[in-house]
Symmetry: C2
């Protein structure tokens, strides 16, 4: 043996970036349970319960509500490749990094993205979506509910109404909203949505919950030509999760154990209570940041689960994040694409959306910025944040 | 709250089916470690070590040796969609369920499978592969090293030589061989191979280790047209695992913790020792089965990690497997496709390839078959198996 591989001993981080968030110890415990076979009667029950619990967090009656065996990005790809074929036009909301990615996948499907643009940091306008629908043959509108790259919450309900008027399907990326931000698939009128497990659900990354209504299921079945992907073909995956459990692939058993536990925690606490916790925590964070003299990227449509803060002039992005990680064990995120070096992204997701974390991150940021020569009045940020919690 | 979801409490199974196999407690322990971010310096080190350890089990110097963020089937899809484009001919070995699946994916890529057929239970003939290469424009030969559906080991080394002669690329599915059956990517001359974590590596399902040499990397880069899939595009995934860690998707951190530990165990024990354990265990199992009056599906090319046994006349497949599961907590597998109801598949994979499990499964099978009216001489199977271990 030439090299010794040490025992795994990850540092204890407070994960306040764009995800993954910290995982509840109950979820880690569930993931360490002994494996059963993926066709074991016990596991089939677990699969049924996971579907039920996912319907609860998505607020939907959709039969086809399951976790895809891949990360959130696999959910994005699954949604698009099952809907979009050669020559299809798709309206895509383009006001952040993940909208760009959707557009790229539409192109790989042989489709044409009709891009509805807004500045990064702004929400999409329902009018612009309507114009795009009126001037194209698009049967699908794809947008990101909670833009992780900019901290913007889209006016989903409003856009759903427009899409319905044109009898198109609305596809919503809810990776950073599911379980933390108000979302009601059925009442909003979302036709298909995918999410991730590592944000407001506090489960490790590796699965992508997806839900689609019968109208969308029919749309997928009636599509011309075979789905390009075999692994992500919803017609096949559907049969694996249905009563017959027609063999498709071997489900990631331990990850599904973990997801069930993560969903069970939200179910016990109550979904609406969770939403409120996220709202309160993000309000407190923004108040605190403002009191310290920092500005958020946008002043409205702020996403409760993730806040984008402008990096003050003269402060070095990487240095601050490194100090936060090394000296305070706190991870926050940098900017993506054009926003690299211009913003920080602070996530307060799931169990992380609490008073303690708001105080901790404000305190660490204040101390780190002071080292960088940025003048902040001691503790003013924390005082402002605490006011919100005390209300 | 209308429904109560109980605490997770899976039964303790002995998993002797086609996979998943039992997971080493050290792996479960690793998976329950606290999460760090996927760009955390600690995690970047873990990624490097996982690549090194995968090179060790694949026996390769290939730089691009990484786990794909999906199950073994995602690995199959990744390999094919990156190699095969519209109109391409691909030679596919068809002597089992997973060869059929490869053929299906080639068709979805717009390619044409040149199918080299053998009866299920037989190995492919190098001559037939040569004929297919001589009579087509195929630049890729795809085959399954260890056919999980039939318990057959393909003569991989021999076929590699033929493929080299025609300057084609050899793609090998090593899902059920990696870590348990003799495999030497570089010495055999395999150009690209994918595997799964839930077989001989004793890690939960959810990741697909993949390795490709520089010739194959170049082949992928030089291909005409964009790869259909964004999620499984090796050009993008490569950049995420390389020094720059160019953001692609969020790696499934806990699963990668688990895989590292599973590989570390094999590294500590020694790969070749593992291979020998599988050989011995499967020889003992087959001797025992034969002594009980049972026959394997094929008499040669038996796969050390999985044995296919013919179900004796008059014995009901489902009933026997149900009794084994409910009364003995032992899972074995049924047949797939045309072999449904005709064979059982007994896997002895990784830590499961041991004397104790051989004895346990023979004893349980003997007792269960006797209940079914199949006459077996008490303990003759066990005695025959023990002889092998005592040698």
């Amino acid at each position: 043996m030439e090299k010794r591989y040490k025992e795994l001993a990850p540092p204890q981080r407070i994960l306040l970036g764009p995800g993954p968030s910290n995982v509840d110890p109950r979820v880690l415990q569930a993931m360490s349970m002994p494996l059963v076979g993926h066709l074991d009667p016990y596991f089939l029950e677990i699969m049924d319960e996971v579907m039920e619990l996912l319907r609860y967090v998505f607020k939907t009656g959709n039969r086809l509500t399951i976790p895809i065996s891949g990360t959130g990005s696999a959910g994005m790809e699954t949604s698009l490749i099952n809907l979009v074929g050669e020559g299809d036009e798709v309206v895509v909301g383009m006001n952040g990094f993940f909208g760009q990615r959707m557009s790229e996948i539409v192109r790989r499907c042989g489709g044409t993205p009709i891009e509805v643009k807004e500045a990064w940091g702004e929400a999409l306008k329902a009018d612009s979506v309507e114009k795009a629908l009126a001037n194209s043959n698009a049967k699908v509108v794809a947008l990101v509910h909670a833009e992780t790259s900019t901290g913007v919450l889209q006016p989903l309900k409003e856009i759903c109404k427009i899409v319905k008027k044109y009898d198109a399907l609305l596809l919503a990326d809810t990776v950073t909203s599911l379980g933390g931000v108000e979302l009601d698939i059925d009442q909003f009128g979302v036709d298909i949505s995918y999410s991730g497990t590592q944000k407001c659900l506090n489960c490790p990354p590796g699965l992508s919950p997806i839900t689609l209504n019968e109208k969308t299921v029919e749309f997928v079945k009636d599509r011309e030509g075979k789905i390009q992907s075999w692994y992500l073909d919803l017609n096949l995956i559907e049969k694996y999760w249905e009563a017959d459990r027609f063999y498709h692939h071997t489900a990631p058993i331990s990850m599904i154990y973990g997801l069930r536990e993560a969903l069970r925690i939200i179910y016990e606490e109550g979904l609406e209570k969770r939403w409120l916790q996220h709202l309160t925590a993000s309000r407190a964070l923004i108040k605190g940041l403002n009191a310290m003299g920092l500005e958020t990227l946008s002043t409205k449509n702020n996403l409760p689960s993730l806040t984008a803060v402008k990096i003050p002039e003269g402060v070095t992005d990487a240095k601050v994040r490194k100090t936060l990680l090394n000296d305070f064990n706190i991870e926050i995120g940098g900017g993506l694409g054009d926003l690299k070096g211009k913003i920080w992204r602070i996530g307060l997701m799931g169990i992380n959306a609490c008073e303690k974390n708001v105080i901790i991150v404000l305190e660490a940021l204040e101390r780190t910025l002071r080292m960088e020569g940025f003048s902040v009045k001691p503790s003013e940020g924390i005082a402002a944040a605490m006011e919100v919690f005390e209300q």
